[in-house]
């Protein structure tokens, strides 16, 4: 009995400690996150450099919150656990729809004209083509994360356009690898015959020698679409003082250290606004990913 009593007291203590933890966390630390779209083992290390940069520019404590999945990034934003984030096209739209008043602040120069690569295992005999590779019909196919713009949304859209039916009906099997690096890995090993991913990640991994280009190659480049961008919550000014959103946007646009830009694999950041992503909302609705 005693141990039980002790246990309940400790459990109560646990609960109050947790609540206290929450109360403490309410103080004004600016927190941001980013969708984990590729090699995530060094994300903390890399984004901590950004936290330092923002701290210097904005004069408030800044922290990076690592997440494991795309929806987790959106949820952290919806819950106000983070006040701004680096989203993909679709996750950015999802986040803005969930938190009315949120603003797209900036995008990479490359993100205005983003594209995906369809890649195939050598055994399929598929080669690079200008037209949509209709030969992928009946093969096994992997997207990236389910909520990825370049690994899912637009590829699915182009597949529907070219083949006139749902991807489920086009392919023998569909998988969702979870991220772009994993898509390469799964197609390279032949676990899936065909896959699709973000073109920047492909080029970066080829450059760093991680891809066996004899086993896997690009078979089609998609048309371009807008993608990744920084989004801030609409109530960020109420929490951090009026004009804060503008200062944050200015801080992002002012990033010019090549080391910091290399983390995102972008040349520079340029201003963005919500209307730039209208096409994503439309395609999201057509494919049924957005209500």
């Amino acid at each position: 009995m005693l141990t039980t009593v002790k246990r309940s007291i400790l459990a109560l203590a646990a609960m109050s400690a947790l609540t206290a933890g929450y109360a403490l966390a309410q103080q004004a630390t600016l927190v941001f996150t980013a969708i984990p779209d590729e090699d995530e083992t060094r994300l903390v290390e890399r984004f901590t450099q950004y936290a330092k940069y923002f701290e210097g520019k904005l004069g408030v404590p800044v922290k990076y919150l690592p997440v494991k999945s795309y929806p987790a990034a959106v949820t952290a934003f919806t819950n106000n656990q983070v006040q701004f984030a680096w989203f993909g096209g679709l996750t950015g739209v999802q986040a803005r729809l969930a938190v009315p008043g949120s603003q797209a602040l900036a995008q990479g120069e490359e993100d205005q004209q983003f594209k995906s690569y369809f890649i195939a295992h050598v055994s399929t005999g598929l080669k690079l083509s200008q037209e949509f590779p209709k030969g992928i019909e009946g093969k096994t196919f992997t997207f990236g994360a389910r909520a990825s713009t370049s690994g899912r949304l637009f590829p699915e859209h182009f597949i529907r356009q070219a083949m006139g039916k749902d991807p489920e009906k086009v392919f023998a099997r569909i998988g969702y690898s979870g991220d772009h690096s994993r898509t390469i890995q799964l197609v390279q090993s032949g676990a899936y015959q065909v896959g699709v991913l973000n073109h920047l990640v492909w080029e970066q991994e080829v450059k760093s020698g991680k891809v066996d280009t004899k086993a896997v190659s690009v078979i089609w480049e998609t048309p371009t679409y807008p993608d990744y961008h920084w989004v801030a919550r609409g109530d960020i000014d109420t929490s951090f003082g009026s004009g804060f959103m503008g200062r944050l946007q200015a801080a992002i646009l002012a990033v010019d250290d090549p080391k910091l830009l290399a983390i995102f694999d972008r040349k520079r950041f340029i201003p963005a606004n919500n209307d730039d992503y209208k096409v994503i909302e439309d395609v999201g609705k057509v494919t049924g990913l957005i209500n």
């Binding site: 987790a72 949820t75 099997r173």
Partner: protein, 500 residues
């Protein structure tokens, strides 16, 4: 009709698994997995212990200890009410039928990625499990002391003075054993972002950094393997206090209350009912139109795939357990061989099924097969370990045969009832676990839950999670009936009850 017996029950399960195999999706499609497997092997042979993030190990223990403690504390009063109120029994079924991972995915919507989510994702389902198991222990207890209580003794006093002393020892053993499960569950929570061992393990695996992954896994095996040394009744208070002090702090703002209100009054309310006029027929028509495709395209095929997968894995588990159990029995392996067998089985049962399945996915290509094998290996090792302990607890004749003869004509037949009891008990557990394999691309219920969450459709996710609850509850009832029909109800079914 012939009465159900051990033989024809086993045959029935075997045949059903074979039937499932013919309809299951088990094609081997990987073309050239060996490059990746070689890298894996090289990593395993050269674990990089310097890369192990010590805090992730500390937090794994802290989450498990606090989660299990709260679960046990909440489970006890529920256990007392358990036999009296059907509502409590139902609540316990719902709490424990939802996998920790699904709990965590829901809790994140309210508490964010932080200590509260980690602790509650363990505590809530474990409270349901503790309620059931504690209630069973109380029911099985010797009631002699209660009969001599003076008339007019209150229920509380009767419980405290006549029953608790009887059952306290078994409560303790079970709670400490449950800590091992807690550690495994906590690791899995890392896969979705809590800062436990699983967080780094998943990242390393994804990136093919197998030397780092192997070191982290090795540390985890040691943690599980030595649990009896560091988690004892005397160390529990220290563990608890230390865990509470060391839990990671919450990062970032947001009001849990506001999130809870939003989650309950908006997110999980079926989309057609949000802000709709609940008195109007049109709203309910829209609701039916919303529910029907979910039921038809997701719940039914998802539940079917979950059951098919579980059925094959169940029989696989049984077969593997029968093959493995001599490895951990002193009678079969001797003083030297037995610890080696034990080590092997600890490694097999502590390797997260999700990791196993991911490696097998590379090797065999996407299908149900990786998930089936992963479930078979993990659960087969657990049942094999238990059976081995039973095998050593049997009384053998002085002239008992040896080796294969002992195995085939003495030990196995005598343990067969116990073996079936374990299998039937783990049936529900396998169904619950197979639901989450959807995340690997097998279209079980978990596959659709993953999709719904990616699309931020929590209303759909809740429908699917409730469907997994229904399937688990169904299997639980079936398993209980079978155990009763086979007269196995009184045999041990829990790890903590196996002979030492």
């Amino acid at each position: 009709m012939k009465r159900l017996a051990f033989g024809n029950t086993s045959l029935l399960f075997l045949l059903s698994a074979l039937a499932c195999l013919t309809v299951a999706d088990i094609a081997v499609t990987a073309l050239n997995p060996w490059g990746e497997m070689l890298r894996l092997l090289r990593g395993v042979l050269r674990p990089d212990f310097l890369s192990v993030e010590a805090w992730s190990v500390v937090w794994t223990v802290a989450f498990a200890v606090v989660g299990v403690a709260i679960g046990a504390t909440a489970g006890l009063p529920l256990a007392i009410l358990f036999p009296r109120f059907a509502g409590v029994r139902l609540a316990a079924v719902v709490l424990r039928s939802i996998h920790e991972l699904f709990w965590a995915l829901m809790l994140i919507q309210v508490f964010g990625l932080g200590p509260a989510t980690g602790v509650l994702a363990i505590a809530i389902p474990y409270a349901g499990i503790f309620a059931k198991v504690f209630a069973e222990i109380i029911e099985e207890a010797d009631l002699a002391a209660e009969r001599v209580l003076p008339a007019g003794t209150t229920a509380v006093s009767a419980f405290a003075f006549a029953r608790l002393p009887e059952v306290a020892g078994r409560f303790k053993t079970y709670t400490l054993y449950r800590l091992e499960c807690g550690l495994r569950s906590t690791l899995v929570l890392g896969f979705i972002g809590l800062p436990t061992v699983g967080f780094h393990l998943e990242g390393y695996f994804k990136q093919g950094r197998y030397a780092e992954a192997a070191a982290l896994l090795a540390v985890f095996y040691v943690l599980i393997g030595t649990r009896r040394l560091w988690a004892r009744p005397t160390t529990v208070p220290i563990l608890l206090v230390a865990s509470l002090l060391l839990l990671p702090e919450a990062v970032g703002g947001g009001s849990a209350l506001a999130n809870l209100v939003r989650f309950i009054t908006h997110d999980i309310v079926p989309a057609p009912l949000r802000g709709g006029d609940l008195g109007s027929l049109a709203t309910w028509g829209a609701f039916a139109g919303w529910l029907q495709p979910i039921a038809w395209n997701q719940v039914l095929p998802g539940a079917w795939n979950t059951l098919v997968l579980a059925q094959i894995a169940l029989v696989g588990m049984g077969t593997l357990a029968l093959l493995l159990f001599p490895l951990v029995s002193r009678r079969f392996m001797g003083r030297v061989g037995q610890p080696a067998g034990r080590l092997l089985l600890v490694v097999m049962r502590s390797t997260p099924e999700y990791m196993l399945a991911y490696v097998l996915l590379q090797l065999l290509g996407p299908s149900m097969l990786p998930a089936i094998l992963a479930l078979t290996v993990h659960n087969g090792a657990i049942v094999g370990y238990l059976m081995g302990r039973h095998a050593d607890a049997l009384d053998y004749r002085a002239d008992a045969p040896k080796g294969l003869n002992l195995y085939a004509y003495d030990t196995t037949p005598r343990l067969y009832g116990q073996f079936l009891a374990y299998n039937l008990y783990r049936w529900e557990i396998i169904v619950r676990e197979s639901a989450i394999f959807g995340i690997l691309g097998v279209a079980t219920l978990g596959y659709h839950v993953d999709a719904a969450i990616s699309e931020l459709r929590f209303d759909v996710a809740v429908v699917l999670i409730l469907a997994t609850v229904a399937v688990c509850a169904l299997i639980d009832i079936l398993s209980r009936r079978l155990r009763k029909a086979l007269r196995l109800s009184t045999l041990a079914t829990r790890l903590a009850d196996a002979p030492a």
